[in-house]
């Protein structure tokens, strides 16, 4: 740390103070990151190594193998759940964005009845109907056991709506006015001016929606009785938390079988990878203050 970064009025840090702070920070980072290392290492370990070391693969297996991954993709259940989750995530996020953007833009300017709609939306943040009325509604609408039941009930999140609306409201009015003078209508202003200026906040909101779909567990449990439609989190629960064997004994005898623990962790890794891939590209936007704006409300 260079001294130039420290404001002149601040006293120089003591060595002991720095050491303690550094250690606390290192421990925090380790507590967050180590579990991921352990999961990946275990998923790559061979059966003999897991048996020998009692399941502890601290950093990296001595003889890494992809047997666990072959097992889970041979079964077909995980691959299918992966497809379902990917489909729900992509289609769901696209629909979420379209409807949320339209609502947030529509309410970002004073329009007839705008206050009423806004109040109606905000009130849902304070009071929800509850599990049972929602369940009965999905049944009554005929959405039970359909993929739509994983998308439609969460079409607009009031929180994400607030994030977007707040951002749209802070776009300088002169920009919009000059476009209007040039003859652009409300829709053209949204598409040509507002959206291009909002890429960062849109990325964040898209990430929130996408992660929500990818991790969707309870709605799927509640609304899907057909196990053939299960998304990844339900399959993950079945294999890892409920201890159901992966593949259901389809592998032929004599074939190299991966250890149960490795297979379970391989499913966890499969569920984690998309999040870990997208996260680094989007996380820099969090600190840009696109979120803090909307927390109030």
């Amino acid at each position: 740390m260079k001294t130039s970064q420290r404001p002149p009025w601040m006293e120089a840090p003591t060595k002991a103070g720095l050491a303690i702070k550094g250690m606390v920070i290192a421990i925090v980072c380790l507590l967050v990151l180590y579990p991921f290392v352990n999961i990946v290492a275990t998923s790559l370990a061979g059966e003999s190594e897991i048996t020998r070391r009692g399941g502890i693969i601290a950093l990296f297996p001595s003889e890494p193998t992809l047997a666990a991954y072959k097992t889970i993709f041979a079964g077909g259940v995980v691959s299918h759940a992966l497809l379902v989750s990917a489909g729900i995530t992509i289609i769901g996020t696209a629909l979420n964005l379209v409807v949320t953007i339209a609502l947030a833009y529509g309410l970002s300017r004073p329009i007839v009845g705008g206050r009423f709609v806004l109040t109606a939306v905000l009130f849902t943040m304070l009071f929800g109907a509850g599990i049972i009325p929602n369940f009965l509604l999905i049944k009554a609408l005929g959405l039970y056991d359909s993929y739509a039941s994983l998308i439609v009930p969460g079409l607009v999140s009031a929180f994400n709506f607030l994030v977007l609306r707040n951002f749209f409201q802070n776009i300088p009015a002169e920009l919009l006015d000059s476009a209007r003078i040039d003859g652009a209508g409300d829709l053209a202003i949204l598409l040509r001016i507002v959206l291009p200026l909002s890429k960062a906040v849109l990325a964040v909101v898209a990430l929130f929606y996408a992660v929500g779909h990818w991790n969707a567990f309870f709605n799927a449990l509640l609304y899907l009785s057909d196990t053939g439609k299960w998304p990844l989190p339900l399959v993950l629960r079945l294999y890892v938390l409920q201890g159901q064997p992966v593949g259901g004994g389809t592998e032929s005898p004599g074939e190299a079988v991966a250890s149960i623990q490795a297979v379970q962790m391989a499913v966890v890794v499969v569920a984690l990878v998309p999040i870990l891939c997208v996260y680094p590209f989007l996380q820099r936007y969090f600190t840009k203050g696109v979120l803090t704006g909307a927390i109030k409300g």
């Binding site: 009025w9 925090v28 399941g55």
Partner: protein, 329 residues
């Protein structure tokens, strides 16, 4: 940050609105029809989202009529017999009390242990001077927020469950191999620790923003007056984050009875219902799975009403103490 949706949160004041309407009429402003024509594109854009909120948030509110019915799915709302307040007898049952007590236990633990965690972490992050290190640590601690509960609990199973890392290490050290994932006594702590791992880092975002908003001149002046770093923390930093802390506390109160539903549901099998039944799981198991629709819905409705009362009450209290709360009036 405070500027944000202050107007958004404020319920339209009736007198205010009438005055505005009168003013508009006096100026000969556009008629309702003219304004509808002017706003037609915007209104069309608002329509799908508005319909969504009506159908999926307000129609289910009406569905709560079943708390006064002996609801039978094959009879529907119309033909299920009315039972008045009969379903509310559920509040005298021991099963309900177990769920309520567990919920309160989890809520208190979360309020005491989880709620302050982001504040401490934010102060730590804020004290990192090098921007590079700070940014790195921030991206590390935000990450777990995006890990879903199913994944997170699978990870805990691998690290501290019966065949996991921690019992193995304890065994090698000659200590008893504890399984923290199936211990009902440890369960409330487990839930709180998992929550801290997942969301303490994410929770720092709003506190960091508040810390950035504190004028550095205050620090400078305090330093010149001879205040050391701890006194500056006490007299400058902490007062600077009080409004945000209060705001989050109020918002938390509204959902205090919704203690980690998915998280607890997923681990209920491992520790048993005595340790893990909370109000939401009660509603799910008794209502959706056992078909006691009316009583379960009554529990759900009362829980929602208590949340609303708490949030509005806490907000009123905040106003009384001269703070802004979630909306200003």
């Amino acid at each position: 940050m405070h500027r944000v949706s202050r107007s958004a949160g404020r319920a339209p004041d009736a007198g205010d609105r009438a005055a505005r309407r009168a003013a508009r009429r006096a100026q000969g402003g556009p008629s309702l029809r003219a304004r509808l024509r002017r706003d037609r594109v915007m209104l069309l854009l608002v329509l799908p989202g508005f319909l969504f909120f009506v159908v999926f948030h307000y129609v289910p509110l009406l569905g709560n009529v079943i708390v006064f019915q002996d609801y039978q799915p094959y009879l529907g709302f119309k033909d299920s017999p009315w039972v008045g307040l009969g379903n509310f007898a559920v509040f005298a049952e021991p099963d309900f009390y177990r769920a309520l007590l567990n919920t309160l236990k989890f809520a208190v633990l979360q309020l005491v242990l989880f709620f302050p965690a982001p504040i401490g972490l934010a102060l730590l992050l804020n004290s990192i001077i090098s921007p590079k290190i700070k940014r790195f640590v921030q991206s590390v601690v935000y990450l777990p927020h995006f890990i879903g509960w199913v994944i997170l609990i699978s990870i805990s199973q691998q690290l501290i469950g019966g065949t996991g890392l921690l019992p193995q290490l304890l065994g090698e050290l000659g200590l008893p191999r504890v399984d923290l994932m199936t211990s009902s006594g440890f369960f409330p702590w487990l839930v709180t620790l998992q929550l801290i791992w997942k969301d303490a880092g994410w929770g720092t975002i709003i506190y960091l923003a508040a810390l950035l908003n504190i004028d550095t001149e205050h620090y400078e002046a305090a330093a010149i007056d001879g205040a050391d770093r701890w006194r500056r923390l006490w007299h400058v930093t902490l007062p600077g984050i009080v409004p945000v802390t209060l705001l989050l506390l109020i918002l938390n109160l509204g959902s205090i009875l919704s203690v980690g539903f998915e998280q607890i549901l997923l681990q209920r099998d491992a520790v048993g219902a005595d340790a893990a039944e909370v109000l939401d799981t009660y509603v799910y198991f008794h209502g959706v799975l056992d078909g006691q629709w009316g009583p379960a819905a009554a529990v759900g409705l009362v829980k929602g009403v208590i949340g609303l009362v708490l949030i509005l009450g806490a907000n009123k209290l905040a106003h009384r103490f001269g703070h802004e709360g979630i909306y200003s009036r």
